[in-house]
């Protein structure tokens, strides 16, 4: 292959990577509303569920963006009464990763007081989106 063609392919690779990065960043951290009846076992969290909601964060030791999510969720949990944060380290628990179908970390679940999973975030969620998911979880609770 001649050098000019190789340079063109190199430039195309760079452009494709930029596009992929922009798409990944746009998709990252979006909330997915979980329908149906999937529950979290409090024994897996090693702590009781919150009276209003529980934020479950899945991490590993090798997760570069988990600490920033932990700080953000921790401050949300501190501000809101009845909301607790449970961090689950999957580094040596592939059984839990399989049970909750976690393919990448950070993954965050918003869980209602009965342990039902209401929303799921893959990636770094925006604080406002977490607050919105909490708001969608707790009023249901007030009605029942």
């Amino acid at each position: 292959m001649s050098l000019p063609i190789a340079l063109v392919i190199g430039a195309a690779l760079l452009a494709a990577t930029v596009v992929a990065g922009l798409l990944l960043r746009r998709r990252d951290g979006r909330a997915v509303v979980v329908h149906g009846d999937r529950h979290v076992d409090p024994a897996d969290l090693m702590r009781p569920l919150g009276s209003q909601a529980t934020l479950v964060q899945f991490s590993t030791e090798f997760c570069a963006r988990c600490p920033q999510v932990r700080r953000m969720l921790g401050s949300v949990a501190d501000e809101r009464a009845g909301v607790v944060l449970a961090e689950v380290d999957l580094t040596s628990r592939s059984d839990l990763a399989a049970r909750y179908k976690v393919l990448s970390t950070p993954t965050t679940l918003v869980v209602d007081p009965e342990g039902r999973i209401r929303s799921r975030f893959t990636g770094v969620p925006a604080r406002a989106d977490v607050l919105a998911a909490l708001a969608a979880t707790t009023p249901q609770e007030a009605r029942s």
Partner: protein, 196 residues
């Protein structure tokens, strides 16, 4: 769980910029070189345009006495793309064995960090170190396949590593770190649960 002392998260991203630039150059060189040489011909002398005549003929005389397979290996290893990728692989290895003394990390701490504001948060050094290991694995596979004569193995491997390094540098996405969970779930990686 005891985490090691935190590092400035901008350090690994700075290093990823340099690594991705080197990997892009290696990919272009690998593409330009095409398939690894499979035969020895008069064209051999053209493979080392930088070497002076004395060196080339002396080198060739040394190689000529060797078995054919060794001559082929030396030819393939003398390609610029191979040599640059080998340097990148050694830098990855350095980053795995001793992240604090890795040259880009040293450059960041001595020249870049003093000019920046103090970091808002310190982060765990284990994820970037693991990702260096993933990078090392990918480029090593490319180097070995190139030596075996597999066409395009080297530029494909460096292109994959480039994508990961560039996404880390420009977007803060750590593909190597994401890989841990997938490998663990596939049963390839992982460790026994820690005893309490």
């Amino acid at each position: 769980m005891t985490a090691p002392a935190g590092i400035d998260p901008r350090g690994p991203r700075f290093a990823a910029w340099i690594t991705s630039a080197l990997l892009l150059v290696a990919t272009v060189l690998g593409l330009a070189a095409g398939s690894p040489p499979a035969t020895i011909s008069f064209g051999w002398f053209a493979y080392q345009p930088l070497a002076d005549a004395t060196y080339a003929s002396g080198d060739f005389a040394f190689i000529a006495g060797r078995p054919f397979w060794l001559q082929i290996l030396l030819l393939r290893a003398a390609q610029p793309a191979f040599l640059l990728t080998l340097v990148i692989a050694l830098l990855f290895l350095w980053g795995v064995l001793s992240p604090r003394t890795q040259p880009w990390s040293l450059l960041f701490r001595t020249l870049v960090r003093p000019r920046l504001d103090p970091p808002a948060e310190l982060e765990d050094p284990r994820p970037p170190r693991f990702a260096q290991g993933v990078g090392l694995f990918v480029v090593t596979v490319g180097l070995l396949l190139h030596l075996l004569g597999v066409p395009w193995a080297l530029p494909i491997a460096t292109a994959m590593a480039f994508v990961a390094a560039f996404l880390n540098a420009a977007f803060g996405l750590c593909l190597g770190c994401q890989l841990y969970l997938l490998l663990q779930r596939a049963g390839i990686l992982g460790r026994a649960p820690r005893l309490p």
